[in-house]
Amino acid sequence: MQAIDRKLFRDFQRLWLQAIAIAVVLSCGVAILLTSVGMFVALSETRTAYYERNRFADVFAHTVRAPLSLVSEIAQIDGVAGVEARISGTAILDIPGRTRTAVGRILSYPEKTNPVLNLPLLIQGRFPDPAVTSEIVVNAPFAEANNFRPGDSFSANLRGQKRSFTIVGAVQSPEFVYTIGPGAMMPDNEAFGIIWMSERAAAAAFDMTGAFNEVALSFATGTNTASVIDALDDLLEPFGGLGAYDRTDHQSDAFLEAELSQLKGMAAILPPVFFAIAGFLVSMVMSRIIALERSEIGLMKAIGYSNTEVCLHYLMLAGLIALVGVLIGWVAGTILARSLAVQYATFFNFPYVIFHVSYWVYAAAGLAGLATTSLGALQAALKAARLAPAIAMQPPAPPRFKRSLIDEAMTKARLAQSTIMILRSLLRWPVRSLLTSLGLALAVASVIASIFINDALDEIVDLTFYQTNRQDAMLLFAEDIPETVLEEVRNLPGVLQAESQQFHAAILRKGHLSKRVAIDSRRPGADLSRVLDIEGRPLDVPPGGILLSRRLAGQLGVHAGDTLQAEFLTGRRETYSLTVTGLVDQLLGLGAYMDLEYLNALFRQAPRLSTVNVTLDENQIDDLHRAIKDIPRLTGIIEMNVNRRAFQDTIEQNIVVMNSIYISIAIMITVGVSYNAARIQLSERARELASLRILGFGRGEVSYILIGEMMLIALIAQPIGWLIGAWIASAMTNAFTSDLYAIPLVLKPHIFAIGSLVVLSATLGSVLIVRRRLDRLDLVSVMKTRE
């Protein structure tokens, strides 16, 4: 090994704590980049491959009942390559050994041919024998959650008829990568399953012989989606078409897409921040090293090392730091990616796992880390290269201190000499002090911007789960039924309170704008499911019109008092002009509300309902479940308690994980910044501080200067950090606000306090570590060294 390389390693050894502190910050960037890009690529490639191989459809539509003869007409639509029509329905399942009801989504499976689109992939067993109508296959997660094996059976309540089915296989389908039951907030594979049965059995069960109610299309390449959707809507219109939609509105794909865009956002926002901080730290440390090694640089040049060699020597020192950071980042990123893959495996159902991160992603993340570090070191290294050899041999000119107004002020304020030293040093390096402060401010901001989400979610959960929806459960019916059923429900075991509610699919139009919504209607004074404004105040929907959430009104461009067209896709499929009676601010959804009595009058019908909200006596829940398995036309039960608990559990789990990640990140940034800053201060001040010690200052007084300066910088960082944190939080709430929900910007004082506490204590910890060096300062040798 060459002597100059040996110097490199020894210097690195001497700096290793500082190097590690920087490397860890850098590794965060590398790890997150690796994970987000790696998982993005893996997930999207897996999705593409799966969709292609199993021919995931491009457009989907539901109708009430369309004749099979329509299929050939649909196939004629310009640009359509494949058509798959089928029968679908929902049923309550009675699974042996399970008291609680499960809900099944039933799909027909063609008898003579294989499906053209959305091919289920057999995981276990076999497909049903077309001749045996009781044979079914179920989706694999449902089978797994319930421990089904081929040969097991359960019964289903098919429009009042109880029928027994035998499971012959388990499948996966590109349509159900992510499965979530109707009305549920989280997947529950035990309580919700997809069931494929022969066409004949499905037709008999849902009265669909010679008909279909679901159709999927695939395109030839280069087809205009919108025109196909329009054509399909026109064809289905006479048969109760509920509006065709493309993949973006397909539930399973939308969830995948959301995950992908989250990964994209993660890759775009976080790594640059870490890289920037690491780059800054490297540049700070390298500048200091080069200032310290002036004479060594001069010497290297005097004995014949070229400028390039000197420059490379220092770049390589930064390169070593980068190397450590990249290695840690690779390891951490691999672990992180793996744990994310495990999470995906539980949430998403892919038949094959290609969740490995490609080598080029490792290379790219590594290069990015190396590049930022080199960039950070470049300025200092170039300075070393440019240093004229003769000048490098002379001691640096003492820094020029000029008396300024601030100095006058400090003198007037009769500050202690040590305090003046602190302030003067801050002012001597204003850019560095500011950047150090900014680094710490980013750490504060990262705490604030992450933990404010807890409070925001708390507010959402409270408003939607505990105040808007106060029912213990919702009973769902296949279609609207006379409200007299309410009496029956009240007589079920365990039911304490029951209230009716209706949902109607409708398209609201105003001018050229339109939006497909579910109009929600209930009786005035309803107590279990309520309409609340953003402050949590309950509202009664005024009769004689429609009440819209402000978000929906914005999308339609309407104001209170305007009239809009409501094209109902249910019942008689009539269109009405409705007055917008008011707007309400809401966090979740595109709410559209009508008074139930007004709606019944409009429809010229006796009171009907589609959902019953109930409160329950916990002790009789099992009896209730037994009883509802036999109620005809009941297609599902949403247990809000279970939902709330599952949702909160998941959120809490995630929050604990996320909070610890973000707080660790903040600590790593803080330590990286403050440890390095303090070390540099110590190195610049060593002579000064040693002289003070020699003059008789105590250790405490001398460390006050070191600790005081760093803590002052940290204090200055706090308000900046609060501002940046609040700004990021509000940017995040804006970014997360979608068609579906808004995250409220809840900034409670305690999160600012937590952010500051974390950063201030991490700073203090780092400075105290450096202070130990001060205690060990060898007064003689410090004074002897030339600087």
Partner: protein, 235 residues
């Protein structure tokens, strides 16, 4: 008459500090001869180091020309000067300038790694009498020992010229003498042209040639007919 190795023609060095122009060198014409040991004497600020740095290719003259053998240094690019230093010049500085993170041997290797025809580092250290201290770090050595390492480093490449800027400035007389012995020994043994800057007028007595500096100019050149051994020098 020995061969000329350095020749300068009216070199000046001006530092423009904004308010005033400092003439560190105000027209120096000089000839140095192969194999000679030359001592530069003069008051502080008279331009000795400046001249040495220009001869060693560490610095550029503002005006004038400098020849080394038959090549003109003042026409060289930075790259050319680097090569010149690497191949021909050995430096010894007042403050030793050892790399603290390298041992004595490694400090010498710093040079032998890049030189064209170096002697082994161990041999160079042997020549300065440090054969037994090779694995010590600078912080573990006395000033005189450190300066001898610096000399070993300078001679290890078998330079044609050895430029020493106050090599004994930081040393007591006994250690100083040891260092001077080494310099004379090298000069005699290898015929290395040696230039030594010093504030100690006594040291001139070991030189072939003594050059006096005053206000950026040569005020006098003297040739010693009789030279003393360093051990005979007292100060």
């Amino acid at each position: 008459m020995p061969e000329i190795i350095f020749r300068t023609e009216n070199i000046t060095k001006v530092y423009d500090t904004g308010e005033v122009k400092v003439y560190a060198l105000a027209g120096v014409d000089l000839e140095l001869f192969k194999g000679e040991l030359t001592v530069l004497l003069g008051p502080s600020g008279s331009g000795k180091s400046t001249l040495l740095n220009i001869l060693g290719g560490l610095d550029h003259a503002t005006e004038g020309r400098v020849w080394f053998d038959n090549t003109e240094l003042t026409k060289m690019t930075d790259r050319g000067l680097t090569k010149y230093r690497r191949d021909h010049v050995g430096f010894v500085f007042q403050f030793y300038n050892l790399v603290p993170s390298l041992t004595a041997r490694e400090n010498v290797q710093l040079v032998t790694d890049v030189a064209a025809d170096p002697m082994p580092a161990d041999e160079a250290l042997g020549l300065v009498g440090l054969g037994d201290r090779m694995d010590h770090f600078p912080s573990e050595m006395s000033g005189g020992e450190q300066q001898r390492v610096a000399i070993a480093r300078a001679i290890a490449k078998r330079p044609q010229i050895l430029l020493c800027d106050e090599p004994t400035g930081a040393l007591d007389s006994t250690t100083g003498v040891q260092v001077l012995e080494v310099l004379r020994d090298i000069n005699e043994r290898f015929g290395t042209t040696t230039v030594v800057i010093t504030h100690n007028a006594e040291i001139q007595r070991m030189a072939h040639r003594v050059i006096f500096f005053q206000d950026g100019k040569i005020s006098e050149t003297r040739i010693n007919s009789e030279r003393l051994a360093p051990s005979e020098i007292v100060w």
